[in-house]
Amino acid sequence: MRARGDKVGVGSVVLGVVLLAAGIPLLVPRHMSREDAAANPATVHQEPVEVARPGDPRKDSPEPVLHIEQVQGPDGLTVQVARSTPATSSLTRFAKDALVPLTPDEEALLREEPSDDLAALVTRMERAFQDASPETRGRQEQRYLAALNLVAKLSAPPPEDARARDEDARYQRALAEEQVKWRTLSPGERDRAQETFKEWFFQGEQKR
């Protein structure tokens, strides 16, 4: 039993080494590890870098990315750690928990511009759009629109308003009665008549 156990142990070690050797290049893209090592071996802290995983992305899911961070170990040892899930802002977590489907643009924005303040995110993207050069304007507008669409998805829906619904029902009834009188008018005249009637009706409603 003892000899068999030793064989199992040696086998496990060998298998582990093989898996480790095969796994490292899979976990960390080769060009990243080479470039980073060559670029600045003394660097201790590095901002997280997002790297696309090799291979074709699936069309039915957002593109997964690996997140690589420098982590300081004992005795000043610095190692790279690759994680499939990047650090997320509370908005990202909220979107995930609430099962809000996000577009790739919106997901990318949440990753690249972590923020817990939607209005600040919109303002930041708007400023970047307005400061953009003609070459980058299209890209910045895309990000700005993504921010606004993100806001809409993460905002609470407007509350139900029974008073407005009743008022609208009254308006639609009154409008239908009035429209009978406008049959002979041209489309432009009908629009103007409706505008005038609408103003008259809602000013009256406000005084009710």
Binding site: E126, F129, R137, A152, P158, E160, R163, R190, D191
Partner: protein, 587 residues
């Protein structure tokens, strides 16, 4: 004569209009969000913008396209598109540049969500849209503001329209703390004009709306008697006094509570019609032993606020903020002392260091180990009629929530001019004085209920009901042998809530000598001028503790005030040997 008659005729003609164009106030509410999109358009190109897919109770959009060319103007507008409640506009861009697409609700309650398309391409999907139009007349130079009324409040926008479709002016952030502030450039009184208020996309929160007439507009007199920046016509609409710049008497000027200010904006927390009481709490953190760290329990803020809310029916609102850690010291003293640190030196470095605009209005509570000496086991020491307090529970190995809450409210009570009411002799505390100010109930709560209130009893004697406490001194002395006739059921502190004094100097203004500015100096902190110009609070108010000379002067004034009300020095209050501190010291 002819010109006189002409002027008279003009006055008669204008009189009804002047009466019509009075100020307006809308209390705090949710105004809804606008769609407020920046977009680049090329000169000579035809563009169609439209809203589609409207949802909501009764959704109805109005779509404006605006352009800023050294001043904003409207390029296109559309309300109902082909008879439907959605909107559409088609126009040729007059020049290249950034334009604004503004989508709002036609009327209050007609908001919802809508998608926005440009030339048939979807730009924005299911965006919330809202905003509320307010219809009233105004005169040129009138001001319009929307001030956030919830903490971290939303970013609001404010528009003036000549009619449903004619744009006049708008503003985003010219007011204090980037609240919108518009000064009307023209008089509008034909009946179709409106002001529209709503939020910037993505922001949340509530705001109040204020339309006020031009201040100091006449030659011989002004229309702002108390010179607080709100006209005499407006103040009654809000429930404020025309003759008092601090109508609710909480030492925070009406202007700050209604219009807000940069930094910690008082409009977001305060009410101009309720007394708001602010306290910053810092605590001492032991460097190695977490059991010695004197951090108050997290629920203290809510608990203390609830006591004030319930007992005063909301007329006194406590806003306490547990702020930051202080370096550890075994002993803290008001002033220098052996083996201890000077309270004022610590306060100077830690008190609202990130928000100095709070300093003139906040009490400062230090959660420390011990005060005065290494052998003191007093639970606290607080200024009477002041704004500083020390909670020192170093002799409590692990103070319970009740002990912490009771001590905090007790010491804060001293700041608010409440004393122990004679209950200073150990073992002889009154059972009748049912208040957290009585040591008997400081920890256990009034009637040993765990509820820490300043006034819980309702068994006051007749003398207490109609005269100052001083007249009950003999009655109170009777507590110590409460068999005196007529004294057995006397609670001289009934109504103690009503005697909380936030105007510490008792001189009718906000200056207690602890840093608040006088009426004039408050106005000068608005730049460049509050007389019709944009008011902007200067947040960086340098804070300095009063000099020793000034402190002695303050103590002298407070001492005279307390003695004149029957308080007894050495029993109800103490004055430090150097005359710079008037305080209540607790067992």
């Amino acid at each position: 004569m002819k010109s006189f008659m002409g002027a008279l005729r003009m006055v008669l003609l204008l009189a009804p209009m002047m009466a019509w164009a009075g100020p307006h106030y809308v209390a705090s509410r949710d105004w809804g969000s606008f769609i407020w999109l920046s977009t680049w358009l090329d000169a000579g190109q035809t563009y169609t913008f439209e809203t589609r897919d409207l949802t909501g109770s009764a959704p109805d959009t109005v779509l404006h396209v605006l352009r800023d060319r050294n001043g904003w103007s409207q390029v296109a507008v559309g309300d109902d598109c082909q008879g439907a409640t959605r909107s559409c506009v088609t126009f040729v861009a007059p020049d290249s540049g950034y334009y604004r697409v503004w989508v709002r609700a036609y009327a209050d309650g007609r908001g919802g969500t809508a998608s926005l398309y440009r030339n048939g391409t979807l730009l924005l999907s299911q965006q919330p849209f809202g905003g509320v139009p307010l219809l009233f007349a105004w005169n040129a130079k009138d001001t319009f503001r929307a001030s956030a009324t919830s903490p971290g409040g939303g970013d609001h926008l404010l528009f003036l329209l000549r009619s449903n479709t004619e744009y006049l002016q708008h503003d985003d952030d010219s007011g204090p703390k980037y609240y919108p502030l518009v000064t009307a450039t023209s008089t509008q009184n034909v009946g179709t004009q409106r002001v529209v208020v709503g939020r910037f996309p993505g922001s949340a929160g509530t705001a109040s709306f204020v339309h006020d007439e031009e201040l100091w507009s006449t030659i011989f007199d002004d229309n702002d008697g108390d010179e607080d920046g709100l006209s005499d016509s407006l103040e009654p609409l809000i429930g404020l006094s025309q003759n008092n710049e601090d109508s609710d008497g909480d030492s925070i000027a009406d202007t700050l509570e209604v219009f807000g200010n940069d930094g910690f904006s008082f409009s977001e927390w305060s009410s101009p019609t309720a007394r708001d009481l602010y306290v910053e709490v810092d605590w001492m953190q032991h460097p190695t032993n977490p059991y010695l760290t004197r951090q108050p329990y997290a629920g203290l803020v809510a608990d203390a606020a609830a006591v004030f809310a319930q007992e005063t029916g909301g007329s006194v609102r406590l806003h306490a903020f547990i702020d930051s850690a202080l370096p550890w010291h075994e002993v803290v003293c008001y002033g220098s002392c052996a083996n201890g640190v000077d309270f004022y030196a610590l306060k100077q470095s830690a008190f609202s260091s990130a928000n100095p605009e709070r300093r003139p209005y906040f009490h400062y509570a230090m959660w420390a180990n011990r005060h005065t000496s290494l052998t003191s086991c007093s639970s606290g020491k607080a200024e009477l009629l002041g704004n500083d307090l020390i909670i020192s529970m170093g002799c409590f190995s692990s103070p319970s929530i009740q002990e912490q809450r009771g001590t905090f409210i007790h010491e804060l009570g001293h700041n608010l001019n409440l004393d122990h009411n004679g209950n200073d002799v150990p073992g002889q505390y009154s059972v009748v004085h049912d208040s957290v100010m009585n040591y008997r109930y400081q920890f256990a709560g009034v009637s040993n209920s765990g509820w820490h209130s300043y006034s819980f009893g309702d068994n006051g004697c007749a003398a207490c009901g109609s005269s100052p406490k001083a007249e009950c001194v003999s009655c109170r002395d009777g507590f110590l042998g409460c068999g005196f006739p007529g004294c057995g059921s006397c609670d001289c502190d009934v109504g103690e809530w009503g005697s909380l004094e936030l105007d510490f100097s008792d001189d009718g203004d906000a200056d207690d000598g602890a840093g608040r500015g006088s009426k004039r100096s408050l106005l000068t902190r608005y730049a460049p001028d509050d007389k019709g110009g944009p008011a902007r609070f200067q947040p960086r108010v340098p804070h300095e503790e009063s000099s020793l000379v000034r402190r002695r002067d303050d103590v002298r004034r407070k001492r005279e005030r307390l003695l004149s009300r029957g308080r007894v020095e050495g029993r109800d209050f103490h004055v430090s040997a150097d005359g710079t501190l008037l305080y209540a010291e607790c067992l």
